[in-house]
Symmetry: C4
Amino acid sequence: MTESKTAVHFGRPQSGWRLRAFTIIFESDTRAGRNFDLLLIAAIVASVLVVILDSVDALTASHKTLFDVLEWGFTLIFTIEYVLRLVCIRHPWRYATSFYGIVDLLAVVPTYFAFFLPQAQVLINLRLLRSLRIFRILKLIEYVSEFRFLGSALKASRRKITVFISFVLITVAILGSLMYVIEGPRNGFTSIPVSIYWAITTITTVGFGDITPKTDLGRFIASCIMLMGWGILAVPTGIVTSEMTAQRMTRSFATRTCPGCLAQDHDTDALFCKHCGKALPADPRA
Amino acid sequence: MTESKTAVHFGRPQSGWRLRAFTIIFESDTRAGRNFDLLLIAAIVASVLVVILDSVDALTASHKTLFDVLEWGFTLIFTIEYVLRLVCIRHPWRYATSFYGIVDLLAVVPTYFAFFLPQAQVLINLRLLRSLRIFRILKLIEYVSEFRFLGSALKASRRKITVFISFVLITVAILGSLMYVIEGPRNGFTSIPVSIYWAITTITTVGFGDITPKTDLGRFIASCIMLMGWGILAVPTGIVTSEMTAQRMTRSFATRTCPGCLAQDHDTDALFCKHCGKALPADPRA
Amino acid sequence: MTESKTAVHFGRPQSGWRLRAFTIIFESDTRAGRNFDLLLIAAIVASVLVVILDSVDALTASHKTLFDVLEWGFTLIFTIEYVLRLVCIRHPWRYATSFYGIVDLLAVVPTYFAFFLPQAQVLINLRLLRSLRIFRILKLIEYVSEFRFLGSALKASRRKITVFISFVLITVAILGSLMYVIEGPRNGFTSIPVSIYWAITTITTVGFGDITPKTDLGRFIASCIMLMGWGILAVPTGIVTSEMTAQRMTRSFATRTCPGCLAQDHDTDALFCKHCGKALPADPRA
Amino acid sequence: MTESKTAVHFGRPQSGWRLRAFTIIFESDTRAGRNFDLLLIAAIVASVLVVILDSVDALTASHKTLFDVLEWGFTLIFTIEYVLRLVCIRHPWRYATSFYGIVDLLAVVPTYFAFFLPQAQVLINLRLLRSLRIFRILKLIEYVSEFRFLGSALKASRRKITVFISFVLITVAILGSLMYVIEGPRNGFTSIPVSIYWAITTITTVGFGDITPKTDLGRFIASCIMLMGWGILAVPTGIVTSEMTAQRMTRSFATRTCPGCLAQDHDTDALFCKHCGKALPADPRA
């Protein structure tokens, strides 16, 4: 069995309970490992829900104790998990300084801090970083072929999207500055960054309406921005769609040639030429 | 004649007027049955329109009596229809406890309640459930091939859309929490659920503007969310479009069956089976 | 020369200055006719611009006389044109009662009315109907092949778009009613029609923000509507795009079969089989 | 070496340091020229950032001196660059009167003006024209094939987009006038131009909410505009997407030339010329 990247980097233990713990916690190709992942994700989602509901004043007033108990429960579970992760690998320091290591630590530290240092209550919001752990879900989602399809379509369009975003940013900077000069601070365009924020609001068709042009010229230019944004909106859609259509087509065409009549365009599952009935060579990609 | 699923489930009567009533009310493959369906849909649409107009204060003031008469008319029609449905099947209880059975009951009960128990006036709003009956229209719409085309395109993209929606929900939860920490209750982001509601408002480019960022950092992050939402917007469009394009192309492929190995999915231009090499029958459409 | 539909319907004069006038005014396949159309469109656009600018208080204050002179100028031009149209055809009544005939009359009548009956000043707004004449431009635009392409793509998707719009209307009616029950008049959802207006505002991602949900449940449902609207937005785009892609492809593929090797998929401009080099039969569509 | 268009138009010097300066400043096909372009773009972006930050009151209060020093630094750099550009070409006047020549001058003049004529402080905003220089970046971006792909897709759809925009403008003018008549000045639709601005806001789904319909009829028409805008939104997306899909497919066709009749555009699987039937050379990419 070849070792995974994680196993090599953090050091898979040789044997004993530490190897079993490593297999369960860090790997997901065994039944136990996958169950652990699912349980962990459930715990993360639940703990994030508690943090979210804890921020609603009406609920905190009536369920203070319940939230506190749940909060401490999740903190203990995540603390145990964090210690286990450190204990069952050979290079604990590498894990502690990795991205997920720091996120895992930040998921539990704020609760202890707020308990021992009551004046550090504001830090409690750092618990929200716990939600970053949700991205571990993506590790699982990657098994879903649909996600790979989406991911590869986006990845293939990466450069086009970058070029497109830079073009949009330049346009937005120029238009924002223009509106700052035309409308000025008295109509809510208090500075160029604020005007650029307004231009982004408008070109993406979000249109909050907290800042709006009041002068005739400003409204005329705003109209142009909107119509332009409409056309520009078509570009990312076109990029992603044509990428997806292309990927779908690539998957379904083979390029074998019939030895009898030299016809091409045979399906991937074809064994005989559809034109002359001769046996086809094996598909090199199959 | 094979019995339909409805006929088997609710029990088609053997003969007599009950069989005739059953054919008209529950089935739509006869002329009378289809006419009944169209009349019923007209009655539902009209009764929903009355409920809708009844909610406008200006109209209620001047046309109170007209609305009351119409309301009682529709209630009587729907009551008779409900009783007929129960009477003409062999398992009335199965129908009464089915989804449409409950909806049909809820369509008439509130009017009687409000009449006999004046203090239960608030329940009158339950009449709105009557609008759920409109979905019976879909039963008819299904005959329209255009709808089947749309439906199957959406169904085929079901898993991709699920993956996409979960990704959007995670993103929105993280961004909402972030904005709650940055902007806080003093700028309208009173709790994390409210902030998530704001993030959804922004990422879908709806942008109500009832809650808007006021700090510079908040506006910067809002700008990022908007530009991101723009790109993300391209994904569902890409999914549905490439699915539709693919289906349109699939439809242009023939569905001949090989006389030798019974394989299908041969290209329109295939003369020999691609699996066993036997000659194919001529394409009936060519 | 075959007579056009217009010529047959309104009656083309036999000869003389009336025939010359008819050719210039009603037909656009001569040089003079086309020039007349272009001049007329210029006059319509200019007169509409005058009406538009006349509505701006700041401009009316300072340029009252100029606007009045221009207004009378255009009214006289359009009156002469209207009389000429009536005079140079054999069935003037058919024209006077046709759609464009009524529009042409309404374009000049309000100015005379407002002059002779000062108390009928409000009717002056009817001048705006003049803008309907702009649709004559479309007669010209039809010559542009790009427009035909757009038009036929939209026409081909007509039934799908109808089905889609009915589905959206049902959804919006149900969601609007639901929000009316949840939020009620105290939060701005004063009646079901207003709530449906709000639901359309939200599902199309316009999001004015004049009416917004205030309760937690209302905001939750609003979030669902927004995410749904996002997905639904993809459907019309998918319909139109796949229609356009299909039309583009149909235009470029022929379906001739090579008499030598029976291969298909030859380009429209192919004279010899690309597989065996034999001469191809003539393209039936060419 | 063939001379570039720039070289011909402005006159490339024969030799000496002026030729070296010309090669570095005006051309970008040498290493030094490309480095100069990159440095210049960095300076433009930095100077624009300074102007942007200078507009934020909070920052100006604390960093006035820093901004002034940077401002003068960039002004000096751009002045030297401007003089060098004039000196190293043979027709300096042609450059000074070209578009970029004027922009380059306007990028430095306002700072000197504001220094020598303190009362001309308002002109300082002209410095923002400096941001137009950013478009020089596009000269570089053109080397990126992704941009060429986007650009040619947009260019190919140019006529379709023009037709589409004119159609949208006519629609918006008619709907705006209609809403002006229905809602009138008391509901914020103060003039027809303002109503057209509102119609554009709505049809592009931006929906600021600064002006909203208040009457029932106005809201009904607004709902129609929104649903229509939704459908119309699909058109530019469809145009761009089908153009991109088509271009992607065209690229996958080979460009072999027939040795017999010099025809091109043969399919990848073609063995014989489709025009004259001669055998084709092997596809170099196969």
